[in-house]
Amino acid sequence: MAPPREPLIFHASRPGRGATDQWPREPGGAISIPEGLLRSRPPALPEVSELDAVRHFTRLSQLNFSVDTHFYPLGSCTMKYNPKACNALAMLPAFLARHPLAPESRGQGVLACLHELQGMLGEVTGMQAVALGPMAGAQGEFAGVAMILAHHRARGEFARREIIVPEAAHGTNPATARLCGAVVREIPVGADGDVDLEALRAAVGAGTAGIMLTNPSTLGVFERRILQVAEIVHAAGGLLYYDGANLNAIVGRVRPADMGFDVVHVNLHKTFSTPHGGGGPGAGAIGVAETLAPYLPIPIVGREGERYRWLTERDLPLSIGRLSAFMGNVGVLLRAYVYMRLLGREGLSRVAEHAALNANYLLARLVRAGFEAAYPGRRASHELIVTLRREAREQRVTAMDFAKRLLDYGMHAPTTYFPLLVPECLLIEPTETESKETLDAFVAAMVSIEREAREDPERVRRAPHTLPVRRLDDVRAAKRLDLAWTPDGRTADPPR
């Protein structure tokens, strides 16, 4: 239904046109700014009517796949249903209108929600203290590693600058460690998907600051010897960081603190269902054990009797500091708060159960249908990996080809080529909010594509066929850079 393409909004622009009801009146006063500081040419923003803009963005939206329109089993991303109530309630006018520097007396409502959210996340992770400021998982990781380093420094252990990460780790883990000035040490993972304990033992030492792990790992399996991992790292004087991106697999079933982790971030935009918004915003709340609590990033919401207030440097002099101009992504936090209250104690413990049920069901059915599990014999966590290396070898139809062809079947593709460890992999995360019927339809599509791969491989290799664009040339995109439209028709030049 959506037109195959939508022209750039700039093409609808006509000099003098505009959504004039959105403009303030002529200010009726002089501009007292020195001439030399003023702009000479107006910016090249589109001049369009309100209808032009509404029609343009409505049509653009229809070009997207989304949870609201399609099954979206993107592994490591937890694309579950985002309840409409969470959005509606976070967008109540009084919440939206509140200035971040407004007095606390005019924010007891929102502060109460944030304070309770801190408590609920503490309960879910088993951690002693929680800070909500980090604006995504990666910023939560930054805060966590920075706190680990601050902890070592406070004890005079300046040499502890190594962060161990398993090779399967998400890219943000090593990138964060490096951003924190740490040295990254990768350790291998065994054929069963668990960390190679020997390698870990060999890696730890006096330089060890800590280890970053997610459990279940990005391989879709639970690290069974997690207590031994913790013991090894702790014995070496290091701390354990839990990458909470996979918390959906265990929420209400196991707590990171009980596994021996000292610090954890939680992607609220995954487990707690705040929307991904086509790339963000998220929230990467962070929880810590007692020892790290003094280092938490500010601000935090404190409670004194019946009043809530912001805790800042004054209250937390050892804090690693401030990660955002104000209080991170409050609107996202409110959505997570509403979600957790809607699920409550009972509901939260059903999430992981049904996420696991869906993943294991999908795994079982795909294996029966002839697909190869990357970690046969292992239970899937909330996600699972199949490897299409046989298909790639025999039919020269790759995981990417399967992914693109799935789009034609009206389903978003799973994550491809991550984790890098598994060749031709599809990392599939159905989430607990999808029904058995949807999973069955996915299996049917995979089986059908497998048959196509044998009978008409070119059809799969050239997929998608039914979307507004055919397969896009990524190599060209990176070589002949075109990153911005400009009025003179020339787009950005190729860089040297």
Binding site: I9, P27, G29, S32, I33, P34, R39, P42, A44, L45, F57, L60, N64, F65, L74, Y81, N82, P83, L89, L92, H99, P100, P103, Q108, G109, V110, M135, A136, A138, G171, P174, R178, G181, I226, G252, P275, G277, G278, G279, G280, P281, G282, G321, R322, G328, H354, N360, A364, K404, H412, A413, P464, V469, R471, L472, R480, L483, T486, D493, P495
Partner: protein, 456 residues
């Protein structure tokens, strides 16, 4: 169960296929002693009706006031169309556009956003957002240091007139890379950062110089002089700008020596105040530096049929490819805010945005006139202003603000903690949302408060 569609029959059938007796068995790889007890600390579920009532009540306690607060977050008119469009499920509930063919809506909107930001800032390229203005500054300083290509250059000049929270965030994030932020004083009379204040650093090994325009005090800096100082010395220049002001002010790309990296807070572009977030950090740069830029970038390319389409590009800079050698660790960004800002900028266009900027400026001027007409209130600085100003009162600010609040007026920000040297200083702001009568109301209230206390 809320949001879980499984019927008892489904569970049974699925377990049978899996070959498991119970859901519990699916967790058998977890050491049994680790399995949690019930989440006793989480309250029981509310249904949507109950949480709606609870949240409505809480929102009601945070009731709205007439606000003259600015200081990095600004109350602007937000067209109803902005969020009607941005919250459409197809934008709201989609992921980062990794599967480009199934994400052309988000990708094209992002490309349009990049184009608009590039044009607003006078730069060639922009990214698809960073978290917020403050963290964008941190990223910009790190990027500048990379551009500088002198690993030993670790000192960065950041004027004291830059937003204190931005400086705090930049310090927090960049210190681990060994960057040292050095404070450049402002001129006590004008509120500007003088070129002379940079002179002591002449010949020193600097990684970057940052300039905020307008600065935290709302004062317009001599950007040409400052930029030229850095440019002459080959020191990368980072500009921090308010995007609304760019409808009126010369963009960093056109400063005498153009900026190398431009960042700012995109919140004024259609994004609600929302107690501080989610906001929108933006970043633009010169094409030559694009490979040093952090964050996602959408690009236009061709498809198999030779038709145009959009995709994420230059991903080799990013953590999911480059891992510990990435330009940043950022992954999830502020995508939906990008969509909202793009709708906002499309609705305002160059004329509308200019009108907004002019209104902010003129109203702020009227505000300063009205307030400084009150005995005991004077303007702290003489430099030219955009839409904020520092006032000095003849007594401590805090009780005055509290008294105003009781009259339903948020009178601005007390600078006592951040700038004790300014005495009883108050940062006020007016945007296009304030009418002349709002300003009169504020002036009358402030006059009354000051008089009452003088009398008392």
């Amino acid at each position: 169960m809320a949001f879980i569609p499984h019927t008892a029959a489904d569970v049974e059938a699925m377990l049978a296929v899996i070959g498991a007796r119970s859901i519990e068995q699916l967790f058998e790889e977890i050491p049994p002693d680790l399995r949690s007890r019930p989440l006793a600390g989480i309250p029981q579920a509310l249904n949507e009706m109950e949480i709606t009532r609870l949240m409505s009540r809480r929102a009601a306690t945070d009731r709205v006031a007439l606000s003259f607060l600015g200081a990095g977050a600004y109350e602007h008119h937000i067209p109803a169309a902005v969020w009607a469009l941005a919250t459409r499920g197809e934008f709201y509930s989609s992921y980062t556009p990794y599967q480009a063919e199934a994400s052309q809506g988000t990708l094209q909107a992002t490309y349009e956003f990049q184009s608009m930001i590039a044009s607003l800032t006078g730069m060639q390229v922009a990214n698809a957002s960073l978290y917020d203005g403050a963290s964008a500054l941190a990223e910009a300083l790190l990027m500048a240091a990379r551009i500088r290509r002198r690993p030993e250059s670790r000192r960065v000049l950041v004027p004291r007139a830059v937003h204190p929270h931005y400086r705090a965030v930049a310090r927090c994030i960049t210190s681990h890379q060994g960057l040292r932020l050095e404070e450049v004083a402002y001129d006590a009379a004008t509120g500007r950062t003088l070129v002379e204040a940079l002179e002591p650093y002449d010949g020193e090994d600097l990684a970057a110089v940052a300039i905020q325009q307008p600065n935290f005090f709302g004062v317009l800096e001599d950007v040409d002089g400052l930029a030229e100082w850095a440019g002459r010395r080959g020191i990368p220049l980072v500009a921090i700008v308010n995007p609304i002001s760019l409808a009126l002010l010369r963009p960093p790309g056109e400063w005498l020596a153009g900026a190398d990296v431009v960042v700012g807070e995109g919140q004024p572009l259609g994004i609600p105040l929302s107690s501080g977030g989610p906001y929108l950090g933006f970043m633009a740069t010169r094409l030559e530096h694009v490979r040093q830029m952090p964050g996602r970038i959408a690009g236009r390319t061709l498809d198999l049929a030779g038709d145009e389409g959009f995709t994420l590009t230059l991903q080799a800079r990013e953590q999911h490819i480059r891992r510990d050698r990435a330009t940043s660790n950022i992954c999830t960004n502020q995508g939906l805010m990008v969509t909202a800002a793009t709708v906002y900028l499309s609705l305002m266009g160059p004329q509308g945005l200019r009108r907004v900027a002019e209104s902010c400026h003129v109203r702020a001027g009227e505000l300063v006139s009205a307030l400084t007409g009150i005995p005991g209130v004077r303007a702290a600085f003489t430099g030219p202003r955009f839409h904020e100003a520092v006032l000095q009162l003849d007594r401590p600010v805090e009780p005055v603000l509290a008294a105003l609040e009781r009259r339903d007026i948020l009178g601005g920000l007390d600078l006592a903690a951040d700038y004790p040297e300014l005495g009883h200083a108050l940062l006020v702001c007016a945007t296009e949302t304030k009418t002349r009568s709002d300003i009169e109301d504020f002036a009358a209230a402030l006059g009354a408060v000051l008089e009452a206390r003088t009398a008392a």
